[in-house]
């Protein structure tokens, strides 16, 4: 299918626009160039509403007004919104052109609105005119299955739904897109109907078996097995879904637990806080002791000795001189008194008191004692000083006061630093504790383990059910063989046997084809997606690229691998540009492998990309698509002009007059908010679409907000 033309009326900003899409094989790219707030997303929504109805609207259209927002007068106004899309559809008899028109009336009063039921008309366009087609929805749906809406029409963000969200949802979306585009549904429907044919044939065998008890038993057995089969298959499917859902929940719980643990375990943090408090208290003690030692140092003898070293040296010299002279110590009196206790004087004469000479000498000594006593009190003091200050006057040796001071000062500094560090640590931990969500780590762990346990149980159940299904299929096969033998007994039986054989063969063909499409074709999509993705992001697995490959698993999940085949989570481990490249690569690969001619309509696909990746996406997308329609901002186009020159078949520019004067260069001369369309391309601009070169994004955004 290819889109040819669209005409949109009264769809929000798009009040009356008509434009064509390129159908040229070599220039398959159509570009709608528009600045932000100029109707790109509105156009994407309008096209989808036109083709798919309300389900394509945000919130399924419940709170989404279609009519232009500036129609809000106090009077009741009825506005008809319509989207008309011409498309070309391949049929067995060749290409056919259809016009699909969807329209609806909204009654607007003030800010309130009410919408009636939408109408859909389909016309087959021929050179002779437009012939209405009955039952348009049923006619158009096979060409535009709902599952493919996100493949055909997407924006850079929504495309990410194939790799974001819960695992189960991702797989459902990917599987839905693959099934629709590869046409698995039609084969599955055919298989299901063929099974019903077989069941009916078995009923016929049973009915015609007459009194042949053995044949009746086998038919009964087969009927019973075939009756149970869909139920068991459904159970297997549900068990798989339940397992995937539980694995999702387990993964989610595990992520929450990891997040909480990364933010901090309250218990663990409390322990750390206590340790910090203890550290701080110990450091405070040390600091206090160091402060005391510091103060004591100023009262120390050492300081005195060092400060008075000069005068002390002089004093010591004087005292030593006196000592040498024998003036100190003042020992005359004790020596003389001691003599008086002796019988002989130091000169050898007698000191006997009974002897006259002795008495005379003793009187002389007594006289000398009295003289000494009276002579010099000062000398006594000097003597005391001499002996008492020996330690004080000795010059300082070894550690000086400065050394002591440095030690104490450093010790005090260290203690203060530790105090501050522990204090800061404590404050930081307290801040972490305060910022902690009220999460119970233990509870999270229990929840995770609970889901893990349930997921394991679900897996066991799935395995058990799969085994039961395998056993059932074996039983069916055996019973069918028995029935075939029994039917060979008569002409009637052989006829039914032949029919059963045909039905069986056809079922086998359909079953094998499904398997082939799910494996071989899926692998082709996977390989193609991988090649496109790596090329888009410029990764060379042979070199040292971080991303080495991407793949689609048999369970329909898109996965990415890094070095050493380490699995990466596309939603978390890839940057924005790579995520976009991956989803666009998937969409393109699926379209290519299925060989379906379908339009790829992508709104702002190049957001978050630049340079090589941006150019590669545009280049590859246009090469791989049969019809590529891109809605691009001026910035997105920058750097890709040469590719557009080569690939663009149709291009037009959407302009929102409301962007004057902040973004638009010229006054559009109207207050209308409807989008204005011009034919300008990426090399040209006109009075309508020219942008101000000095437009400041912030001002522009605030102007729009106002």
């Amino acid at each position: 299918m290819k889109l040819l033309r669209a005409h949109i009326e009264n769809f929000r900003l798009l009040k009356d626009v008509t434009f064509e899409f390129s159908t040229d094989k070599d220039r398959n790219l159509t570009v709608i160039r528009a600045a932000n707030e100029s109707g790109k997303t509105t156009l994407l929504t309008a096209l989808q509403w036109g083709l798919f109805g309300d389900e394509a609207l945000p919130d399924r259209g419940r709170s989404f007004r279609l009519s232009p927002i500036d129609i809000s007068s106090g009077d009741k106004v009825s506005v008809t919104t319509s989207v008309e899309v011409d498309c070309e559809i391949p049929t067995r008899t060749g290409l056919r052109t259809y016009r699909l028109i969807r329209f609806v009336t909204e009654t607007v009063r003030g800010g309130q609105w009410e919408r009636g039921a939408a109408n859909v008309n389909l016309f087959h366009l021929t050179p002779n005119g437009a012939a209405p087609v009955d039952n348009p929805e049923a006619h158009i749906r096979p060409h535009l299955p709902r599952e493919l809406r996100e493949v055909f029409f997407t924006d850079g963000d929504r495309a990410l739904s194939f790799i974001e969200g819960s695992k189960g949802d991702q797989m459902k979306r990917v599987e839905g897109a693959i099934r629709s585009l590869l046409g698995l549904t039609v084969v599955e429907d055919a298989l299901s109907h063929m099974r019903k044919v077989s069941t009916e044939l078995n009923q016929k065998v049973k009915k015609d078996s007459g009194n042949r008890e053995e044949l009746q038993t086998v038919s009964d057995r087969l009927a019973e097995l075939e009756e149970q089969r869909p139920g068991l298959e459904e159970q297997v499917r549900k068990a798989r879904e339940a397992r995937l859902k539980l694995e999702d929940l387990e993964e989610e719980a595990d992520r929450k637990l990891s997040d909480a643990l990364r933010k901090g375990n309250r218990e663990e943090l409390e322990k750390q806080r206590q340790a910090a408090i203890r550290g701080r208290q110990s450091a405070e003690k040390d600091a206090a002791q160091a402060a005391r030692d510091h103060a004591n140092l100023f009262r120390s003898e050492l300081l005195g000795k060092q400060l008075l070293a000069g005068p002390f040296a002089k004093a010591k010299a004087v005292l030593d001189g006196l000592h040498k002279q024998g003036k100190i110590p003042n020992q005359t009196i004790p020596v003389l008194e001691d003599r008086l206790n002796q019988p002989i004087c130091i000169c050898g004469e007698s000191l006997d008191p009974n002897d006259a000479g002795g008495q005379r000498r003793r009187a002389h000594i007594q006289h000398l004692i009295e003289d000494s006593r009276n002579s010099d009190a000062l000398q006594e003091k000097v003597t005391a000083l001499y002996y008492g200050a020996q330690e004080l006057l000795r010059p300082v040796e070894g550690r000086t006061w400065s050394d002591e001071y440095s030690d104490v000062f450093e010790r005090r500094q260290r203690a203060n630093t530790r105090c501050r560090e522990f204090g800061e640590q404590e404050a930081a931990i307290e801040a972490k504790i305060a910022a902690l969500p009220d999460v119970d780590i233990q509870q999270l762990r229990t929840t995770r383990d609970h889901y893990r346990c349930q997921a394991k149980d679900a897996q066991s159940k799935e395995i058990r059910l799969n085994s039961q299904l395998d056993a059932m299929l074996r039983d069916i096969k055996l019973a069918e063989a028995d029935r075939e033998k029994l039917l060979q007994h008569d002409e009637k039986g052989m006829k039914i046997g032949a029919e059963l054989e045909v039905a069986h063969d056809l079922q086998q063909v359909l079953t094998n084809a499904l398997e082939t499409m799910k494996t071989r074709e899926l692998k082709q999509v996977s390989d193609r997606m991988n090649a496109l993705f790596l090329e888009m992001i410029g990764a060379d697995p042979a070199q040292r690229s971080i991303i080495t490959r991407a793949a689609i698993t048999p369970e329909f999940r898109i996965v990415v691998f890094g070095r050493f085949d380490h699995p990466l989570d596309p939603s978390q481990d890839l940057n924005g540009a790579s995520r976009r490249a991956l989803t666009i690569a998937f969409i393109l690969a699926l379209t290519k492998v299925s060989e379906v001619e379908a339009p790829n309509v992508i709104d702002t696909p190049l957001g978050m990309t630049s340079g090589y990746v941006k150019r590669a996406i545009v280049q590859l997308a246009s090469q791989e698509s049969s019809q590529l329609i891109l809605f691009l901002t001026h910035d997105e186009i920058k750097g890709c002009e040469d590719i557009l020159d080569e690939r663009v078949g149709k291009i037009c520019t959407f302009t929102n007059p409301a962007l004057y004067p902040k973004i638009l260069a010229h006054d559009p001369g109207t207050n209308d908010t409807g989008i204005v369309l011009c034919d300008c391309d990426h090399h040209r601009h006109c009075q309508v679409c020219e942008l101000r070169k000095d437009a400041k994004p912030r001002e522009a955004v605030s102007a729009l907000g106002a």
Binding site: N135, A138, H143, G183, V186, D189, H193, M194, E499, Q508
Partner: protein, 72 residues
């Protein structure tokens, strides 16, 4: 159709080649039957019908072909 008939037919024809030739022309008949079944399904998607009955009738025709080929 959103999907490409050619692609599906390629796969189905490939699988058809694996079916034993139960009588002369059997595979060809089965191929026609397969084409009819896909057509019925396509029509059924646009306008509902008793598709099982339609398929059963065609199966009966091919079944008769097979039976007659064996007995003659």
């Amino acid at each position: 159709m959103a999907y490409n008939d050619k692609k599906i037919l390629q796969v189905l024809v490939g699988e058809l080649g694996q079916v034993p030739e139960r009588c002369k022309g059997y595979r060809e008949e089965l191929g026609h039957l397969l084409g009819d079944v896909l057509n019925f399904e396509r029509e059924h998607a646009i306008a509902k019908s008793n598709v099982v009955k339609k398929i059963a009738d065609q199966v009966n025709t091919v079944g008769m072909f097979l039976h007659k080929s064996r007995t003659h």
